[in-house]
Symmetry: C2
Subunit: 82 residues, 2 copies
């Protein structure tokens, strides 16, 4: 398992409720891919959302996001953290 | 105080030690700007580093990073999180 940071663009105006609902949609289906979405942070002004997950692969992260209706624009393995 | 996510590019090959040292360099001087760097995640392959902080402004985040010798390429306020 590796940590991944994925990034969504084009989310201008996202609200706290929308972020919460999107995260819940991921959590509801993530176990099928052995993924866990730990946290997400949103900048409504630039429309950027960052999601931190633990997963077996970037493809697994993307499959969960796609099925939940919000495909990521970038996914980076982040094996190093402090 | 607001949370900020900042991004550094061009860090290909960064090691765990280098990430740790860079983070320590931020922590050593952050209080002068009333900033706190909470976490950082690095992808040595694409050379991308993400830093999560709590700060009074994006400019304050950048001043700490600049004085520590690693200016950020992007800084986003992330007022929403889950």
């Amino acid at each position: 398992m590796t940590k991944f940071m994925d990034v969504h663009h084009g989310m201008e105006g996202i609200t706290a409720d929308q972020l919460h609902q999107a995260h819940q949609a991921d959590l509801a289906i993530e176990s099928a891919e052995n993924v866990h979405f730990e946290s997400a942070w949103a900048d409504p002004e630039s429309g950027t959302v960052y999601c931190l997950s633990e997963a077996p692969s970037a493809d697994a992260v993307q499959r969960v996001h796609e099925r939940a209706g919000h495909k990521a624009d970038e996914i980076h393995a982040v094996p190093l953290s402090v």
